[in-house]
């Protein structure tokens, strides 16, 4: 009995990765606010929110995709292509009120192409989205070349950078919070969410249980594309620049935060709170290092190591649990 207690207590500490990452985030924020000059100010918090917005929005959809056991490496290229398409539409004289929904629609269509290849033709998502990663980025260059469209109306770019009224709350926080709420509710409190976990844990069993796994995954890719379209809009307005290389290489950061947040790459396991904490931790860490004039290169090493640790820790815990169980059955 005592062995069992020790076993579960030790193991639980290691296995609840999201608890650990949330705790680490809180501790880090508190420590950084005390020690790093200017870190705890409202102004800096606003910068952090602006920096984490694209990663967070992409990570929301990526969490759902990875939970079904698939992956979408094309998100950053989708951001680049929608941004380039916005530039082309703006040059053609289309009003921004039309461009914004159109950009999100383009993102959704690009996601649908991924979904069609993956669920319609039954191709591995890793290979398909590496293909569309190159394809979408390439099409972005075809649209804009290496030029930039920068004459965006002040009213829109100002809103993206601005705050709500006289408060220090950034405007972008409002749509972000709404999206977090929607994704959180869908994943954790609806039948769709349960289907997502079931499809990832055991696709065959899920299909026998009456879940249309293929259709579910298709719509998740459409969602992922639409979110990338939205990020394309935000990115363009925030930097007031539509360029083909916008968000280059961001896909790896997004996958990294999702895995850091405790989502299993094999699907079926994971939760949004851990992912949110991982996004905040990574962005705040980067910000603090910059404020402290420490080179952000150190962060690259930390990100990579944490990513491996996120998978290694539960595996090690399982191995310990297995060894303890084996010893118990021997002594019994």
């Amino acid at each position: 009995m005592s062995t069992k207690l020790r076993d579960t207590a030790a193991v639980r500490l290691l296995t609840t990765w999201d608890a650990a990452i949330i705790a680490a985030t809180v501790v880090f924020l508190a420590a950084a606010a005390q020690t790093v000059e200017h870190f705890g100010t409202a102004r800096n918090a606003g910068f952090i929110v602006l920096d984490l917005a694209p990663i967070l929005i992409l990570a929301l959809a990526m969490t759902l995709v990875v939970t079904t056991g698939e992956i979408d490496l094309s998100v950053a290229s989708t951001v680049g292509l929608t941004s380039a398409a916005m530039g082309v539409m703006w040059n053609a004289g289309i009003p921004l009120e039309t461009i914004i929904p159109a950009a999100i629609g383009i993102g959704a269509c690009l996601g649908a192409v991924n979904g069609l290849f993956i669920t319609g033709f039954g191709l591995p998502s890793l290979a398909v989205t590496i293909g569309t990663l190159a394809l979408y980025r390439g099409l972005a260059y075809v649209l804009l070349g290496d030029t930039a469209v920068a004459d965006w109306p002040r009213a829109f770019t100002g809103w993206t950078l601005g705050t709500v009224g006289e408060t220090a709350i950034p405007n972008v926080l409002i749509p972000m919070a709404a999206l977090v709420a929607v994704f959180g509710i869908v994943l954790h409190a609806t039948a769709i969410g349960r289907s997502i976990y079931a499809s990832g844990a055991n696709p065959v069993a899920a299909a026998y249980a009456g879940i249309a796994v293929g259709r579910l995954k298709f719509w998740l890719y459409v969602t992922s594309g639409a979110m990338a379209g939205l990020v394309g809009v935000l990115w363009t307005l925030r930097y007031s620049s539509a360029r083909a290389d916008n968000a280059y290489g961001l896909e790896l950061t997004v996958v990294a935060v999702v895995l850091l947040g405790g989502v299993s790459i094999f699907g079926g396991r994971g939760a949004l709170p851990g992912v949110l904490a991982a996004v905040v931790l990574l962005t705040a860490l980067q910000n603090a290092l910059r404020l402290a004039h420490v080179s952000t290169e150190a962060l690259t090493v930390v990100t990579g190591s944490l990513l491996i640790a996120a998978v290694l820790a539960p595996n090690t815990a399982n191995a310990i649990r297995g060894a303890l169980r084996a010893r118990r059955s021997r002594t019994a």
């Binding site: 992956i71 290979a127 390439g138 260059y141 290489g249 080179s295 990579g304 491996i308």
Partner: protein, 345 residues
Amino acid sequence: MSTLVKSTANVPAAKTGSTALDLVLRFRALGLVIALAALIAATTAVNPRFLSAQSLRDLLFAAAITVLLACGMTVVVLTRGIDLSVGSVLGLSAYVTASALSESGAATPVAMLIGLAVGAACGALNGAVIHFGRVPPLVATLGTLYVFRGTVYFLAGGSRINASDLPRGFLDFGNGTVLGVPYLFCVALVVLAAVGVFLGRYRAGRDLYALGSNPEAARLAGIRAGRRLMTAYIVSGALAGLGGVLYAARFGTVDASAGYGLELNIVAAVVVGGVAIFGGSGTVLGAALGALLLAVINNALPVLRIDQFWQQAIVGALILAAIALDRLVSLRASRALRTKGSHVD
């Protein structure tokens, strides 16, 4: 699914039920050669100077490093793995080798040994995390992509090594040719032959196919998965390390961003070359031809007066076409096997 792909690829008796598809499948390498020939012919028709010695030399210079890394990537992908860290390993090795040379002025073979050792060490770390830590290859090598790149930044710290710091002989090796073929491409060819023989003729090489085709069956057949996986990742790392040496020799200038983003190009070359992304099927020759095809496309675009910006889009479309073709073939193969009541599956 993957067992079927494997059985059709390696057992010539299994037919897809379509002669044309059969041909495509059995002579995937031939298909790539035809595509290459057609592309070169079309480009030469537009501008005959595309086949000039100078232009061909540029092409081989551009292809050498991709071919080299594609060989290593093939070994890993065959085992159902992937190595996303190759770009960072190349950067690390290029920087370490170049700084060692600029300080000591050592000879080229020593530089190659340094690069191979740095790469092999990185590969061993990948292999250990994947095998002993049971971390999926995608996650492990994505992690080490960051770690190795961070290490280069840490070592370099914004500085760069210039051609003037490097020994003369080393730069001559990077830019010299023998009978019109760059030394760098000769290195890639030697590696290609060695890896090809290893995968095709040696037991350890065949074991890699078995592991990728059906890990459980491979284990039951007594294959020591751990040792083989370690071998695969060390080979991939070592070749990326060697690629770093070639990079340093070719360009002379090395900073911390050498090889940034290279991994996806290499994966693309391997997939276009007909290596199944889920393991067990494909040849190193195919991968090398895939790499060569991408290099030819890159060099042919300006000649064909197609905007250079189309290059990446074409690569993406090629990847999608290649995997869709493989899928089509394997579907037809499985259907043909079912109707014949075969027991191959």
